[in-house]
């Protein structure tokens, strides 16, 4: 017998309140009887949406890193900082734990998220059955860490809000901050549109076919 999942047994579970309902065949756009959220067995065109958002994020990741996120104007001239030069500055000024933190949050996490979500989407597309539990855990981690990438945007915001001393020094957000903010939002939307249940859908599928053949 194949693994008894809600989808195979003709049930729908609500993604908001988790109530399980029997699927009515032919009913267009069923809604959860308890919370009213739209019900679907799997998130609609999950893999395609994830890919679209990931590709958009990957493209914008380039200007996010190439363009300055922060522009400092002072008596000594104008300094344009990208995310990486900001990390380098922190490192040189001796706050290496903080430099590491910012590096992880604004470089490692977004890159990891782009690669790992891409891997998950591809593995679902090719109906991989390898390391299902590991992939499921990977997704759990990705969902949790994604939002921390917003760190650098907040740093720029606080600095731009505080350092407004007409003649002495002025800090402004650069265009990179906008691209970077969009990248973080896009990767969050990408992981929200990915349905982790798809990872498990290839498991126990063949068993069903075999049972049918015998």
């Amino acid at each position: 017998m194949s693994v008894p999942t809600a989808a195979r047994l003709g049930f729908l579970s609500c993604h908001v309140c988790e109530r399980v309902t029997r699927a009515v065949t032919g009913a267009a756009a069923p809604k959860c009887p308890r919370c009213g959220a739209r019900l679907h067995s799997r998130k609609p065109s999950s893999v395609a949406r994830t890919w679209a958002l990931l590709i958009a994020a990957a493209i914008l990741y380039v200007p996010a890193n190439a363009q300055p996120v922060m522009i400092t104007t002072s008596l000594f001239g104008t300094q344009r900082d990208t995310i990486l030069s900001g990390v380098a500055y922190l490192w040189q000024s001796g706050s290496w734990p903080l430099a590491t933190l910012v590096f992880v949050a604004s470089v490692v996490v977004p890159l990891l998220k782009l690669l790992a979500l891409g891997y998950l989407a591809a593995s679902v597309h090719y109906r991989s059955r390898r390391n299902v539990l590991g992939r499921s855990r990977l997704f759990r981690v990705l969902e949790f860490v994604g939002r921390w990438s917003m760190l650098d945007v907040f740093v720029v915001m606080v600095l731009a809000a505080l350092v407004k001393l007409q003649s002495l020094a002025n800090i402004q957000a650069g265009p990179g901050a906008m691209w970077f903010g969009i990248v973080v939002v896009l990767t969050m939307l990408a992981s929200m549109s990915f349905d982790p249940r798809l990872i498990w859908d290839s498991v126990g599928e063949d068993d069903g076919r075999q049972a049918g053949a015998i």
Partner: protein
């Protein structure tokens, strides 16, 4: 209502019988190990108390400056919404918007939303707006980023400390307390109990036959 209901794992979709849990018990998916649900003790009362505290802290945090900076006699201070506004005026409306939404609007939605749901529930009232309101609270949670914002404040403090005197303000302490209180509120909240109460009081005659275990046979 002690009937055996079905639960589908939100991570792997395995359909399983809902185990009866003791207070504080946790149900794990038997296939992938994801947490199906946790039963919390006095969830409404406890969450309500914490959300009240969060509301007070949020008000303080936004009424007083988070940081004050001093360079050669010149002082500037920043509040959250001011920071977002300055970004907007500097010609970065999008960044300002993202900051305003994630550090101000969505945390506010969380706090006001939970108050407006739990308070009537505690008083035994179930106005109609409760269901869409709770759905909004549950769905918007990932976008409320107070803790990420505060980490950003800390990083900027260190960056500024090389060139200016920076003093953490009342707002900052309020925000730190807010992080702890909001996190505890989410961890003592048992969404299933809230949904169950909303369901039981919906009273429009839709008996949950379709999700009872017997109906699979």
């Amino acid at each position: 209502m002690a009937m055996a209901l079905l639960v589908a794992c939100h991570e792997c979709d395995l359909l399983q019988r809902e185990p009866d849990l003791p207070q504080g018990g946790k149900a794990l998916c038997s296939r992938c190990g994801a947490t199906l649900y946790v039963r919390r003790r006095d969830t409404i009362d406890r969450t309500l108390a914490l959300v009240f505290a969060a509301a007070v802290l949020f008000a303080i945090g936004n009424a007083f400056p988070v940081v004050t900076m001093e360079i050669q006699g010149q002082r500037t201070e920043a509040l959250v919404w001011q920071g977002a506004w300055r970004l907007y005026k500097d010609g970065e409306p999008l960044v300002g918007g993202i900051v305003f939404l994630t550090a101000f609007v969505f945390p506010l939605v969380q706090i006001v939303g939970m108050l407006s749901i739990l308070l009537p529930l505690r008083l035994g009232l179930t106005p109609r707006y409760l269901v869409p309101a709770f759905r909004t609270v549950e769905e918007s949670r990932p976008w409320s980023m107070v803790e990420v914002f505060m980490l950003g404040v800390l990083v900027s403090l260190v960056k500024l400390s090389h060139m200016a005197t920076v003093v953490p303000g009342v707002g900052m302490w309020a925000f730190f307390a807010l992080i702890i209180v909001l996190a505890s509120a989410t961890s003592v909240l048992d969404p299933r109990e809230v949904w169950d109460r909303l369901d039981a009081t919906a009273a429009n005659g839709t008996a949950p036959d379709d999700c009872r275990e017997g109906s699979t046979a």
